[in-house]
Amino acid sequence: MTQRSHTLVVLVEDHPGVLNRVMSLFRQRGFNVNSVAVGHSETVGMSRMTFVIGGDDRMVEQVTKQLYKLLEVVKVTDVTGENLIQRELALVKVAATERTRADVMRLATDIYRARFVDATPDTLILEVTGPRDKIDSMLTMIRPYGIKEVARTGLVAMVRGTGSSRLTVVQDAVA
């Protein structure tokens, strides 16, 4: 079966230790997690976790089923291949001297729509949002100037239009 990235959106009850339970499950079963993003959802007491995991479809099915066995997990949606908005935010500290600063700024803003949020005589901090490949591409282009630090949030995702990872559809229990 083909290996590919899957994006799973997981709605969980906001209890202490729930992220630990989820990550313990991934670790225990050897599931490979590429990125995690966690935050409150639209419902009080519920958080939404977005995971990007690598693996074949069968493994992802197993991940989903195992996640459902956790008491706090309310809904798991594999949004891979859906009509999806995916965004990640990155902060990038890049070396920039008087000589190179203008180039960095032009490159980052014109092509990647990055914003500058800090500057010192030797560095700039860029803030950029977008799909992963856009951020990867920007990092490639900026790298020759000297990247000093990168902080990425991990991907969050949302289905366009009426499609949803909200808790409105009853789970079909049949595997």
Partner: protein
């Protein structure tokens, strides 16, 4: 319930369990141990006394119908032990090690279908429960483990006897709780029992800090539970049942593989009906033993690594495998790519994560085994598979492996045969893990549900004696046999003391070959007889058991086997039979680990 614990004749040692904290001393002999003094009623707790978390915990346990609690005191649970005498409904069994408490609760659960409950203090008490909890997890046993925790102001400070037991047990519990408010004790216990026994059963741990046990609280009335993320599917999808029925109609050589789910859901009748109605033979997993009468003509006995050759051959030839309440464990399948190579697969299980996990499934059916089989029976008309059943009968005619008879040395298989002959399936059989376990599985024909207790998934050596203790206390009027090896029994033999203290009706049978036999067998077959560290020395088991106050015998000759068994059966209270058997006997048939039916070894050299 027994109130006083005691003694055996000469040892004359006394025991003490006073309700209301009052020590009672009674000396009797094993023969009249059935006659216990009448219980005195406990003094009711004054209504005006402010109640505390510990009392609420006991009340909540009583509300859940707990009659037996296997535990061990310690600093963090002293408040609980302080109020425990107020609850004569709960018989507390003082074990000798928390691992014993866990396995005993497990044994109790397996023979009753009820939730087993064990209790330990914080720190080492809690960590000693790890193996039993994992054992229960792998075998889907309803178990509630209650642990004390250091006071909340100490949590996170590496305080004395502090350990993060909810962290440690995260991957080996169905769920666990750290209770932070005394008011939550009642609802948490209610949830814990519900989770432990519903859906696919499993262990639930409840960790309670000492200050929570001491805090003022009253038990609130039980409320309907609403667990948003926990909705096990009991009733299978109709469409899946129809698809499964269609598969059965189209099959020429169908085979049912029945697992523990049959017993857990109480689907024994439904399984029998399906087998008879559609004339489908039934293979059993190790934990499925008891799901159907093993003398039933359609029952093929155990499958898998040490299963019967005809049963494994049936798997190899079947064109439709119907797995019910089982999980295609590697000890059943061997090499997955060669497992049931000609079969389509119907898989019925209450845990959707088991379906498609190990083998590809044609028709998944998520639901309770009993409901699924009942629906399937209603959907199906009578079918016949005469040709298929005849070929299996043909394979079966090949006599099963019997080792050469050598009168000078006692054969373990002979002991098993005689034990089975004596009991005729009427006793509860508990095993430890290893060769004796496989022989027991092969030779005891279990014809009743919940009479077969063995650690399957985790393969926990040391399980046998404490699990037998739990089984015997759960069903005190029945005969319990603990079949153990000389290796495994040395892991938990301190529970002999508890057997005597409780006068548990357990006959311990040691199949004593002086080796860690199963590992030795692998070393012999796959590692050129390099018996590295598998010869294991031992105490004089007979003297040891006698010292603990058990009646004990050592048997070395074939001629003494039957008489010894009868002798043990007539003694009330625990006994030990130390059968000194041939040292290098192997378990056959055997499919080597990761092998397939084609590699089955029928018998020894």
């Amino acid at each position: 319930m027994r109130e006083a614990r005691f003694i055996s004749g000469d040892q004359g040692w006394l025991a003490f369990k006073g309700m209301e904290g009052r020590a009672q001393m009674v000396a009797t002999t094993p023969a009249d141990s059935g006659a216990m003094p009448a219980e005195s009623k406990p003094t009711p707790v004054a209504k005006s006394a402010p109640s505390i978390g510990a009392r609420v915990l006991c009340q909540a346990l009583v509300r859940e119908g707990v009659d037996t609690l296997f535990g061990y005191p310690g600093g963090a649970v002293i408040p609980l032990y302080d109020v425990l005498p107020e609850f004569p409904e709960i018989h507390h069994v003082l074990v000798r090690h928390e691992q014993g408490a866990g396995h005993a609760a497990d044994g109790y659960a397996r023979v009753t279908g009820k939730v087993g409950v064990c209790l330990a203090t914080s720190g080492p008490g809690a960590t000693n429960l790890v193996t039993p909890i994992a054992t229960a997890m792998l075998d889907s046993i309803p178990l509630v483990a209650i642990t004390g925790q250091v006071g909340q102001h100490f949590i996170g400070s590496d305080a004395f006897q502090e350990i993060d037991i909810t962290g440690i047990t995260l991957p080996i519990t169905k769920h666990n709780f750290l209770v932070r408010h005394a008011a939550d004790i009642g609802p948490t216990i209610q949830k814990a029992f519900h989770l432990a026994k519903s859906g696919r059963p499993g262990p639930v741990l409840v960790d309670i800090p000492k200050d929570v046990l001491l805090a003022s609280a009253e038990l609130a009335p039980a409320e309907a539970l609403d667990l948003v993320g926990y909705k096990p599917t009991y009733t299978p999808h109709r469409r899946q049942i129809r698809l499964a029925a269609e598969e059965i109609r189209n099959a020429r050589k169908p085979l049912i593989l029945a697992g523990h789910g049959i017993l857990l859901s109480g689907a024994m009748e439904e399984l029998k009906t399906l087998a008879e109605k559609a004339q489908i033979p039934v293979g059993l997993t190790l934990l499925g033993i008891g799901g159907i009468d093993q003398d039933h003509p359609l029952c093929l006995g155990m499958v898998g690594m040490h299963g019967f050759a005809h049963a494994n051959r049936a798997i190899h030839e079947t064109d439709l495998l119907i797995g019910v309440g089982m999980r295609f464990d590697d000890r059943v399948t061997g090499r997955v790519s060669d497992f049931a190579p000609n079969a389509r697969v119907v898989h019925i299980d209450i845990d959707p994560a088991e379906i498609g996990k190990n083998i590809e499934t044609t028709v998944p059916v998520v639901g309770d085994a009993r409901q699924a089989l009942a629906l399937l029976n209603a959907e199906l008309e009578d079918l016949r598979h005469d040709e298929w059943l005849e070929s299996i009968a043909e394979w079966r005619r090949t006599p099963p492996y019997r080792p050469h008879t050598n009168d000078a040395v006692l054969q373990p298989q002979f002991v098993m045969e005689r034990l089975h002959e004596a009991m005729q399936g009427s006793a509860i059989v508990v095993t430890d893990v290893g060769q004796h376990q496989m022989w027991a599985a092969q030779y005891f024909k279990c014809n009743k549900p919940n009479n077969w207790v063995t650690s399957g998934g985790l393969g926990t050596m040391g399980f046998g004696v404490p699990a037998a203790l739990g089984a015997a206390l759960a069903r005190p009027d029945e005969e319990v046999w603990a079949i153990v090896g000389d290796g495994g029994v040395q892991m938990t033999l301190f529970e002999f003391a508890t057997l005597v203290q409780e006068q548990a009706n357990v006959n311990v049978v040691i199949i004593n070959n002086g080796y860690l036999g199963m590992v030795r067998q692998w070393q012999q077959l796959f590692h050129d007889r390099n018996y590295s560290e598998t010869f294991i020395s031992q105490p004089d088991f007979q003297m040891l058991a006698t010292a603990y106050g058990m009646a004990a015998r050592t048997i070395t000759s074939r001629d003494d086997v039957d008489e010894a068994i009868e002798w043990a059966r007539e003694i009330v209270g625990p006994t030990l039979l130390n059968f000194v058997v041939e040292q290098e006997m192997n378990v056959y048939p055997m499919i080597p680990s990761g092998g397939s039916y084609g590699e089955l070894i029928e018998k020894g050299e």
